[in-house]
């Protein structure tokens, strides 16, 4: 249960910078998600903590100590790989005991700790099975037990739920969170699935092209994305561009391309400056007809596609040249048909100023 | 790409094997190439001079043209019969027999292939010769029939070689046929094709890579064979391989033997050069 720091990490492969001066602190006991598209550097960072990647510049510190020179097998980390990497020639019990065995822990204690680990992942009774007799979810739990039984300082997970189907994934998300909380171990995981990142993490870092774009709690990062990439990668966003008309009391009036006016909280904005606003689809209220609707910030448009998803409906609204996404829970209001004239409104608080 | 530390590892891992291959295969081939341009055998103490005479002999002396043709002819016969006999076996195994029977039968077909080729050829002499199995069987049926001696004949050589190399064809055709998805056949049937059409226009073309690969694997060794023709053919069924063997073991005319060897190699390479793109195009079409 340790604190892990990455300080100014740089890793280049030829011309490509996989990590471009990245720094982050993973607090003791926190469940931290590294999110980003393929090749963004998140896996490189994970492997740098593990020791498979040696940084060109920068440090990896655990509890303040630089472990850059420590080989993988001495770092006392636990890692669960994307395809679990269970040893096929060993039974479940032998797999889990492996880390204890190479440390020459006496057999009696091995047995006890293996039993405890299997109980924690709810696989009691599976000791003698071979990996190929297990389902994907069971294999993953064995991999988790194997990584945790050695009581490592850090737990690393590489796309932990990627290989599971939807139902199993939801189940495992809950399991994983529970186990992590019970054990209290600092956990860093990598994923390209933003839903997974939101569900599991205490904090998230969004990666792109070797840099951390934004880091913070899921709520913070979701509600207040820093730039277009962060807004678009974590969830969906509607982007409204325009020129700043006036600034009053820290609030700016932005003349959107297309004519409407939007207010947004924006300290330090100059009149005449270009601004980009992001509004989440679920924050937009949709009203049939072009009648006046409550709230300032307003757009008019026509319903394009309607996507019904059981408990919710998504609309694609054509507002001039732009297509705005709106998400609405099916709470009894009638579902609007394609071609209906509508107006969209949102609270000024829900518009966020984002960098390009 | 690899860094310095890795380069050392790669070198130390691959060097021994490839050094061995260099000394035993690549350098000897180069040496024999050089030898083929000499006018005297290396066994003779007098210094030798460069000449094209050996290669010229191959192209001008009718005996070598004849031998080459006979070798190619033998290759064609053996390949053809291997295909004729082997393809249906591969088809049956790949498409019709399932489960444990398939594995067991496949193993039974492949097994003789991995035993000693010389001994298998020899076993045919027991069957074909005067007093051998076939002769005895015929006499058992009709005691007055004349004795049959199939040994030391061209058909005997063909039979023996087909026996030796048949499993190659079965193996390659089997792999090719097995890769054909059943759903493709079903799709053809649903489009109204009858089985003969399905076979000729869908299955056989898709299995062509296996046929071509098997043919190459058979044709190449057969045209270079000398042991089988000698044991089963005696003076009939003479091949270029036998002539090469004579140059080295009997007449000690190594340069000539070397030249003939390389001409044979050239023929093999020609076949590969023609066959490889054929297979590639087919395989790309299948992907």
């Amino acid at each position: 249960m340790s604190q892990v720091e990455i300080i100014n990490a740089v890793k280049k492969y030829g011309e490509l910078a996989a990590l471009d001066h990245v720094s982050m602190t993973f607090k003791d006991g926190e469940f931290f998600g590294l999110l980003g598209p393929s090749g963004s550097g998140k896996t490189t960072m994970l492997r740098a903590i593990a020791g498979f990647v040696l940084l060109d510049e920068g440090e990896v510190r655990v509890d303040g100590k630089d472990i850059g020179a420590t080989p993988v097998y001495q770092r006392n980390i636990g890692m669960v790989f994307q395809n679990y990497a269970l040893f096929p020639h060993m039974s479940v019990a032998e797999n889990v005991a492996f880390g204890l065995d190479v440390r020459r822990i006496p057999a009696a204690e091995q047995r006890k700790r293996v039993a405890d680990a299997l109980a924690m992942v709810r696989l009691v009774g599976f000791e003698q099975r071979k990996p190929k007799q297990l389902s994907g979810g069971q294999q993953q739990r064995v991999a988790l037990a194997r990584a945790l039984v050695t009581r490592p300082r850090v737990l690393l997970l590489d796309e932990p739920l990627g290989a599971l189907d939807k139902h199993l994934r939801q189940e495992m998300q809950i399991e994983l969170k529970r186990i992590q909380r019970d054990v209290g171990i600092t956990t860093v995981f990598v994923t390209h699935d933003q839903e997974e990142a939101l569900t599991l993490s205490d904090r998230i870092a969004i990666f792109n092209a070797g840099r951390i774009i934004q880091a913070g709690s899921p709520g913070e990062v979701y509600a207040r994305p820093i730039n277009r990439f962060a807004a678009g990668f974590l969830g969906e966003a509607n982007f409204l561009g325009g020129k700043v008309g006036g600034v009053t009391n820290g609030w700016a009036q932005v003349a959107l391309d297309g004519g409407a006016i939007a207010s947004v909280e924006g300290q330090g904005l100059q009149i005449g400056q270009q601004a980009l606003l992001a509004v989440r689809p679920e924050r937009m209220a949709i009203h049939a007809g072009s009648a006046t609707a409550p709230g300032s910030n307003r757009l008019a448009g026509t319903v394009g596609e309607v996507i019904f998803s059981g408990n919710s409906t998504s609309y694609r609204i054509h507002c001039g040249p732009q297509i705005i996404s709106v998400f609405r829970q099916n709470d009894g209001q009638p579902i609007l048909a394609s071609g209906t004239a509508v107006s969209l409104t949102w609270e000024p608080d829900d518009a966020v100023l984002v960098a390009e | 790409m690899a860094n310095a530390h890795e380069r050392r590892a790669i070198l130390s891992l691959t060097a021994p094997a490839y050094l061995w291959l260099t000394v035993t295969i690549f350098l000897p081939l180069a040496a024999m190439l050089y030898c083929s341009f000499l006018d005297k055998s290396p066994l003779v103490p007098a210094p030798a001079m460069a000449t094209l005479a050996n290669y010229v002999a191959f192209f001008t002396r009718p005996v070598y043209r004849q031998l080459t043709w006979w070798s190619l002819e033998l290759g064609l016969y053996v390949t053809f019969f291997s295909l004729l006999v082997g393809y249906p076996v591969a088809f049956a195994l790949a498409k019709q027999i399932k489960g444990r029977w398939r594995e067991a039968l496949f193993l039974m077909v492949i097994l003789p292939f991995w035993s000693n080729a010389l001994v298998r050829i020899f076993s045919w002499t027991m069957v074909l010769r005067n007093g051998g199995l076939i002769d005895q069987a015929i006499h058992w049926v009709s005691p007055d029939a004349a004795p049959i001696d199939l040994l030391y004949s061209y058909p005997a050589v063909v039979i023996g070689l087909v026996h030796s190399y048949l499993p190659y064809m079965i193996l390659t055709c089997y792999i090719s046929l097995q890769a054909i998805d059943d759903s493709v056949v079903e799709a053809a049937a649903s489009l109204g094709a009858r089985s003969a059409t399905i076979f000729s226009r869908v299955i056989f073309p898709m299995s062509l890579p296996g046929v071509i690969a098997g043919s190459a694997l058979i044709f190449v060794p057969v045209i270079g064979s000398f042991m089988e023709p000698r044991i089963l053919g005696g003076t009939k069924g003479v091949t270029l391989g036998m002539s090469i063997e004579e140059q080295f073991m009997v007449t000690a005319n190594w340069p000539l033997g070397a030249a003939l060897s390389f001409m044979m190699l050239a023929i093999v390479l020609l076949i590969c050069a023609v066959g490889y793109p054929l297979v590639q195009r087919r395989m790309d079409g299948l992907k």
């Binding site: 690393l156 | 691959t14 061995w20 040496a31 076996v89 080295f248 070397a258 190699l265």
Partner: protein, 270 residues
């Protein structure tokens, strides 16, 4: 299914029954000569006459034929040494191919083709010439050199196939669990590789034990391997001992192949 019915109905003349019959006939074709030869080796008669009287006389006289016995020992010894050398060298090379990407890798892999595609006649005569010039000469050592060269591509391919299915992540997982590289190799890599390596070794043994052409050119008078000795015996004239020794060889080769198949299948986790 509709496709099968189409197969069995009018259209195609070759029904499944005919094909199965053909399969049986082919199996007969493949095995009858061998069985006949084996049967005759146990027959007391000097020629191939019936009636059949079971007798081990030819095997006994075989035991006294020192030339064939010596040749047999040579074959086995060469095959064993060949197996060790080819397996070690080939496994190392296969490891390099599986673990690393490097310039020239495709070239090296391409170079594995000549030993298997070039007719053995050409390789054998080339070795004869080169060994003569370099003073290596003929003999058991030369034969060994040749056999290893022929076995190497097979070993590399067989072990390579096994390695291709071996995810690197297992070794990484072992490292994260605290195993030193040495421990990782012994506890994880080697046990998983073992069946593939054993299969390759058995392959190499069979290739060497059955090899005729290369041995033929590289064997000096008086020292030979078993196949070459048998060939000389056949050329001299038929004696029933040849049946006996041939039967032994066939059983050994087939036995090895059966064991290899078993190993490759059960280790291969298909």
């Amino acid at each position: 299914m509709s496709a099968e019915k189409t197969m069995r109905s009018g259209g195609l003349k070759l029904g499944p029954v005919v094909l199965r019959l053909h399969l049986v006939l082919v199996l007969l074709f493949l095995y009858v000569p061998i069985i006949v030869m084996a049967a005759l080796s146990f027959n007391r008669s000097q020629l191939y006459e019936l009636p059949f009287t079971f007798d081990l006389v030819w095997y006994q006289s075989l035991a006294g034929d020192s030339r064939l016995i010596d040749a047999g020992i040579n074959s086995v010894v060469i095959a064993l040494v060949n197996t060790v050398v080819a397996t070690v060298l080939g496994t190392m090379a296969a490891l390099a191919f599986a673990r690393y990407q490097f310039r020239g890798k495709s070239l090296l892999q391409l170079l594995l083709f000549p030993p298997i595609t070039i007719p053995w006649l050409v390789i054998g005569t080339a070795m004869l010439v080169f060994f003569f010039w370099t003073g290596i000469g003929r003999g058991l050592h030369a034969i060994l050199l040749g056999h290893v060269a022929l076995s190497l591509p097979y070993v590399i391919v067989v072990v390579g196939a096994r390695l291709a299915n071996f995810p690197r992540q297992m070794e990484e997982a072992a490292a994260t669990l605290g195993a030193t590289p040495w421990q990782t190799f012994w506890r994880v890599t080697a046990p998983i590789l073992a069946p593939g390596v054993v299969a390759a070794a058995l392959f190499a043994f069979a290739v060497s034990f059955d090899q005729f052409v290369i041995s033929y050119f590289l064997a000096p008078p008086g020292v030979t391997t078993l196949p070459v000795a048998i060939y000389a015996a056949i050329r001299k004239g038929f004696t029933p001992e040849i049946n006996a020794i041939s039967t032994i060889i066939i059983l050994v080769s087939m036995g090895i192949m059966l064991i290899t198949a078993r190993f490759y299948r059960f280790g291969g986790e298909r």
